[in-house]
């Protein structure tokens, strides 16, 4: 067994360094799908987070509670719900999205939206409450003042975006259920690792796992370095 692992590791490194087309293709697809999901969740999550962080209105705690609860949603459960929605007989079946990258992007975006909303809203709430008034008294309009507050919470925003991308990249349940791991079309790092290991192709799995970990580490460390440089 030990030999098998070492053997697998060596072959995995060979796959990575030789630029094996399958490895490259799956890695690039993973980054593209999770990157798109992150952008999508920022587009719809950031305005919600800004409203929650900057305004007070009745029922605000309920909405915040909802997003906080959604932080812990099991990916398989969300995957199943989306599968039922997107399947032929489902209410969104007419979109013919099941087993497509689009369904995977939407699924991951829904999964990580609570991270964007909760983290960014807390970051905005922790900004000195005088900052908004300060921006206004220096001549900013209401919108410009809100942007100044968002800028002050940029560390929290960067953390939320990084954590969201990492969660999207590393999740398996949704991409497996609505993507289907179709080779050359919807197979991504996590689905390939899970299924190739079952099939006994340990080298490819190890190679992809190394890449998955590398992406997460490199991204997180570089974000930390950028933040440290700025402050």
């Amino acid at each position: 067994m030990a030999n098998e692992i070492i053997d697998g590791l060596i072959k995995a490194l060979q796959l990575i360094f030789s630029g094996d087309p399958t490895v490259v293709e799956i890695s690039v697809r993973s980054i593209l799908i999770s990157g798109s999901a992150t952008i999508l969740s920022v587009l719809w999550g950031l305005p919600v987070a800004m409203i929650l962080g900057l305004k007070n209105f009745p029922g605000k705690f309920l909405i915040k509670g909802f997003f906080n609860t959604m932080l812990g949603i099991p990916t398989v459960a969300l995957g199943l719900i989306l599968y039922l929605l997107f399947s032929k007989a489902g209410p969104l079946g007419f979109l013919r999205l099941l087993y497509s990258p689009a369904a995977m992007i939407i699924g991951q975006a829904i999964l990580i939206t609570p991270i964007i909303v909760s983290f960014v809203a807390s970051a905005i709430e922790s900004v000195d409450p005088d900052i908004k008034d300060l921006a206004k008294t220096l001549g900013a309009s209401e919108t410009e003042a809100s942007i100044a507050v968002l800028k002050e919470s940029k560390n929290g925003v960067v953390l939320a975006v990084t954590a969201s991308f990492n969660r999207a990249l590393a999740e398996l349940g949704i991409v497996l259920m609505v993507g289907g791991n179709i080779a050359g079309f919807t197979s991504v790092l996590t689905t390939t690792i899970a299924l190739e290991t079952n099939k006994g192709d340990i080298e490819l799995s190890i190679a992809l796992a190394i890449i998955l970990l590398l992406i997460v580490f490199v991204l997180t460390i570089s974000m930390n370095l950028v933040q440290r440089h700025r402050t």
């Binding site: 008034d133 220096l138 001549g139 100044a148 402050t231």
Partner: protein, 353 residues
């Protein structure tokens, strides 16, 4: 003099609390106006309304004769700026902090650079452009905030307790800068303060604000001649004592302020007087003091407030005294609540109000 800003029956209500109650005030172009009043009297709310960052619940504001309403508040904001009591800074360097307001005034990069340099010179922080604003000392931070307000050259400058909670050296720099700005740039200023001496030094006119109402408007001297009950009310000021004075053989006054405490003052007063001792003029020591100071008392610490570079202590020595020491000397002494301490101040530090 022309009226630059007119407040007509301004009220501000938060739920069941009336923060401002029918305020009427005319601000003359080029004057230094002081808003005097204790904490919670509505000074900050009034300044925020004058800055256009808070809406009054009722009443009218006229800026240069034009009524300010929802759609043109932005224009007033460009002409009137406020410096907050609790220094607010953007989490970036000094340059970016000062340049922030200039971006709304269409200045070129070169003009912005020059302006930042000019105002840093005014507040005596030359060469601080690249320093992280939040890493400066409390006094320096407040000077950056002042420089940022000066950079945008507004017609009206509103200052909320600009020298509270900072050390005496920075206080005198800020007071100098404010006098200079009013003299050279003719900027109209409103200074909210609970320090009547600051009002007297800097302002031409003052208003006494008590529980959201303006009780009196006049020269600072006019206001000090109010009945002492009112003064004591408003003052809730530190170290204000009222008592009966007699003149001593040495030609000083001895004032009996009650609780067995007598204060010697380097002035000749007889009868009822109110006096004030600045917290920073009182020397605090853990040992009995051997000094030339005419007033020495023994007491115990009842309250400690950490204000950053300085620490304020309340000492019960018959009467309650407020003492201000630097953080450094506080750390050297390491006093605790209940610690026995000795106070001393010169007869010349006692001022009549």
């Amino acid at each position: 003099m022309k009226t630059i800003m007119e407040l007509d029956n301004i009220s501000k209500v938060y739920g069941s609390i009336t923060a401002l109650d029918h305020i009427n005030l005319n601000l003359q172009e080029g004057e230094v106006f002081s808003l005097l009043g204790p904490n919670g009297s509505g000074k900050t709310t009034l300044l925020k309304i004058m800055a256009g960052i808070e809406k009054p619940s009722s009443g009218e504001i006229l800026f240069r004769g034009v009524e300010v309403y929802e759609n043109n508040t932005n224009q007033m904001r460009l002409k009137s700026t406020m410096v907050f009591q609790k220094t607010a800074l953007f989490n970036t360097n000094v340059y970016q902090n000062i340049a922030y307001g200039l971006r709304f005034r269409n200045l070129s990069k070169k003009e912005t650079d020059n302006k930042v340099k000019e105002v840093l010179k005014t507040v005596r922080l030359e060469g601080y452009e690249k320093r992280q604003a939040k890493k400066l000392s409390g006094g320096e931070q407040q000077r950056v905030a002042l420089a940022r307000a000066l950079a945008i050259d507004t017609d009206v400058l509103l200052l909320d307790e600009p020298t509270a909670n900072i050390d005496p050296k920075n206080v005198s720099i800020i007071e100098d800068v404010l006098s200079w700005v009013n003299k050279e740039k003719k900027t109209t200023m409103v200074i909210a303060t609970h320090n009547i001496f600051q009002a007297e030094t800097l302002a031409n006119r003052a208003a006494l604000l008590l529980e959201g109402r303006i009780v009196k408007v006049g020269t600072p001297q006019d206001i000090f001649t109010q009945p002492s009950k009112l003064l004591a009310d408003y003052a809730r000021l530190e170290n204000v004592f009222t008592g009966v004075a007699i003149i001593t053989k040495e030609g000083t006054s001895m004032i009996d302020i009650g609780e067995g405490v007598q204060i010697e003052a380097a002035l000749q007063k007889l009868g009822n007087v109110s006096v004030h001792v600045r917290p920073e003029d009182i020397i605090l020591s853990a040992q009995p003091l051997v000094s030339s100071a005419r007033n020495t008392f023994e007491g115990r610490i009842t309250e400690i407030s950490d204000l950053g570079s300085i620490v304020k202590l309340r000492v019960k020595a018959g009467k309650d005294f407020t003492v201000q020491v630097t953080k450094r000397s506080f750390n050297e002494m390491q006093p605790n609540l209940g610690s026995k301490v000795f106070l001393a101040f010169k007869a010349s530090a006692v001022q009549v109000i």
